[in-house]
């Protein structure tokens, strides 16, 4: 019994250790290099790349482990960290051999990434994949469809063969399952937060950006199975949600600092890995199904304009469904869309008298004393309630 618990724990830990190694790897594993299609957040249709037999490679910056030596000379001092470290990874040859690069017009800095890549790594044939900001327009679905078809053609040229509907349908299936498994992780985080910490969930999901989805599905199934048997000592911490991690990712230290004193029962971390919120229909024209999913079942974020999804309402729903008593409203430094929403959201929470903490982070930050003080104070105020 006791030994069983230890085995479960150690088995789970070794999975996380692998995820940890995968998440922090800056260099693309040798054999994958030429197959990797790098893409900048958020709403990228990985399925099409997967169907082409290529490796969709989410560019998530270099975190606080990459030393920025060249990028500072190429990017304005007032630009977010993920653009900076991603450029650094390019310039220091960690991403030298990718077979493609796509940025999306989620913000003005991201559009420039296509320019930077084009000037420095033309052989990767960097592109902007259009992403309509006028999501609720009747013409939008058709337009996304056309743009996805363009992507399909570009990839077909890369692999030298057509990408069939059946291949894409198969990929939809793989990704539908992957998202189901991710939702299961989040359900545990929400219903039994002592069982699965946010850092653990984060590592499990982030690992998926570095391996094939089939492999990731196996890993997640195994992890979920172990989690069900995991021995937990229930803890008593305030339940909060965390928003602001939709593009640039906060350092692990930051998530841990928060989790020392709170349960993060829902968040928008790595939302680009799970932006499609329900299963995509696997019958009919798969590209249409994918395009239609962006319009009909995509997660809201500060970089998507959709009159049907007012940001404040989305937040209130998130709070309600997560049964959270408070919110941490963060934004990446110099992230205009994030900062604009941060204010709107915190003002709304002020009006609703919902306790919240406004945090600004930088992916490359390394000192967390001040942040710890802020988070502890926040937790202390919640304990006063």
């Amino acid at each position: 019994m006791a030994t069983d618990a230890i085995d479960t724990e150690s088995a789970f830990t070794s999975i996380l250790a692998r995820c940890h190694a995968l998440s922090l790897r800056q260099q693309i594993a040798g054999d994958d290099a030429h197959k990797a299609i790098g893409y900048f957040p958020v709403y990228f249709p990985e399925e099409i790349v997967h169907a082409a037999g290529l490796l969709p490679y989410a560019l998530l910056g270099g975190g606080n482990r990459v030393e920025v030596r060249y990028a500072d000379a190429r990017i304005g001092s007032f630009v977010c960290s993920i653009c900076r470290t991603t450029t650094e990874l390019g310039l220091n040859h960690s991403l030298g051999e990718m077979a493609g690069f796509f940025a999306q017009p989620i913000c003005d800095a991201a559009k420039h990434m296509a320019g930077i890549w084009g000037r420095n790594f033309p052989q990767q044939d960097p592109q902007i994949l259009a992403l309509p900001q006028n999501v609720s327009s009747p013409a939008a679905a058709r337009y996304v469809y056309d743009e996805y078809q363009r992507l399909r053609t570009i990839l077909a040229e890369k692999v030298g063969r057509a990408i069939t509907d059946d291949e894409i349908r198969a990929s939809l299936g793989v990704y539908n399952e992957n998202r189901r498994l991710q939702r299961a992780l989040y359900a545990i985080k929400r219903d039994d937060p002592s069982r699965l910490s946010t850092v653990e969930a984060y590592l499990l999901i982030r690992a998926g950006t570095r391996i094939r989805r089939e492999e990731h599905n196996v890993m997640l199934r195994e992890a979920l199975d172990l989690l069900a048997r995991r021995r937990v000592r229930p803890m008593d911490k305030p339940r909060v949600i965390f928003v602001g991690g939709f593009c640039e990712q906060p350092p692990l230290e930051m998530i841990e600092t928060i989790e020392d004193v709170c349960f993060i029962v829902d968040d928008d971390l790595l939302i680009g890995q799970r932006w499609i919120t329900e299963d995509i229909p696997e019958q009919g024209d798969p590209v249409w199904a994918l395009a239609e999913s962006y319009i009909q079942r995509s997660a809201s974020s500060p970089v998507q304009y959709d009159v049907r999804k007012p940001k404040e309402e989305t937040l209130m729903t998130m709070l309600r469904e997560a049964r959270a008593e408070a919110a941490i409203i963060s934004a990446a430094k110099f992230c205009e869309p994030g900062l604009d929403d941060q204010l709107a959201l915190s003002r709304r929470l002020d009006r609703e008298h919902i306790p919240h903490l406004v945090l600004e982070f930088e992916e490359k930050m390394t000192s967390f004393e001040q942040m710890a003080m802020q988070v502890e104070t926040f937790a202390e105020t919640l304990l006063f309630e």
Partner: protein
């Protein structure tokens, strides 16, 4: 023992000064102590604690509970609990002034603006970044350049007739500015006052970020600096409340003591034992952020043991 003679100590280990306050169950201050923090926070804390009990004339054993705060709050092994200075300032200030909504604490190495509610709960707060241009260090540097003691700054600057503007955003460049002013014959007190006004301006900016809501209070060492108080009131166009009985710089420590006392009352009421939480620290979950994969195969497993 009866709750009558329960003594609670609050220790604020700040970047510049370490401060301690001893209160009894009537929340009355029994003794205080203060020293420069130096570079060994733990030592500073225990020395100040010894001063404290000595000043109070009680044996250390009579102190039931010890709450620490300030940037060195975790560095005190003999504490029972640690609380952040923001919470402590909030509690202490609203203990004195229930109507205060915005608190400013100008420390040696940072500035904090805190908005609190009627129950003395922290509602919002902002801290300045680690740039000396916006901290007490800026004044001390200028003072040192003018050959002044920190404690003389206030009285000295009050003599200023027309303070000069210090426009540099960098404390180092500001020094060259100071030099030039001296060269062009500006009176030192006018320069000192200029520095105070500059810092005061930055501080009020920070207060605005948390929503400038009266009443206002000042806490921390700057309460010893009448010129800064005047400059701030001038910028705010409103009075600035200062903790009474010389508790200004001790505000954080006092708040820690108050919260410690609350905790003790609660524990005793629930008939629970008073244990030091430091033992609980071991139960912290694994830090994946600092995880280094062991070289041997089966890595993670080994790591868990």
């Amino acid at each position: 023992m009866t709750t009558a003679d329960i003594l609670v100590a609050g220790i604020d280990i700040g970047s510049t000064y370490t401060k301690a306050v001893l209160i009894d169950s009537a929340r009355a201050v029994r003794a205080t102590a203060i020293r420069r923090s130096g570079y060994k926070p733990a030592t500073a804390a225990s020395v100040v604690f010894d001063d404290l009990v000595a000043n109070a004339g009680v044996p250390p054993a009579c102190v039931t509970y010890i709450a620490t705060t300030g940037y060195g709050r975790y560095m005190v092994p003999f504490r029972h609990t640690q609380i952040t200075e923001l919470t402590c300032h909030a509690v202490a200030t609203s203990h004195h002034f229930p109507d205060v909504r915005t608190i400013l604490d100008i420390g040696g190495q940072d500035i904090k603006a805190i908005r609190i509610d009627e129950q003395g709960r922290v509602r919002a707060f902002r801290l300045n970044d680690k740039c000396a241009a916006g901290t007490g260090a800026f004044l001390e540097k200028t003072a040192r350049y003018l050959g002044l003691q920190t404690s003389d700054i206030g009285a000295y600057a009050l003599r200023a007739e027309q303070p000069v503007e210090i426009s540099s955003v960098c404390a180092v460049f500001a020094e060259s500015e100071v030099i030039n002013h001296l060269a062009s014959g500006v009176a030192p007190e006018d320069i000192m006052e200029g520095a105070i006004v500059a810092l005061g301006g930055r501080a009020v900016q920070l207060m605005k970020r948390v929503g400038l809501e009266p009443d206002y209070a000042l806490a921390g060492g700057m309460t010893n600096n009448p010129a800064m108080v005047a400059a701030l009131e001038n910028k705010l166009g409103a009075p600035l409340l200062l903790p009474p009985d010389g508790l200004g710089q001790l505000n954080g420590a006092f708040g820690a003591a108050l919260l410690g006392a609350r905790r003790v009352t609660k524990l005793l009421a629930e008939g629970r034992a008073i244990v030091s939480p430091t033992s609980a620290d071991e139960t912290k979950p694994r830090r994946w952020s600092t995880y280094v994969a062991p070289v041997s195969a089966g890595a993670g497993v080994a790591a868990t043991a």
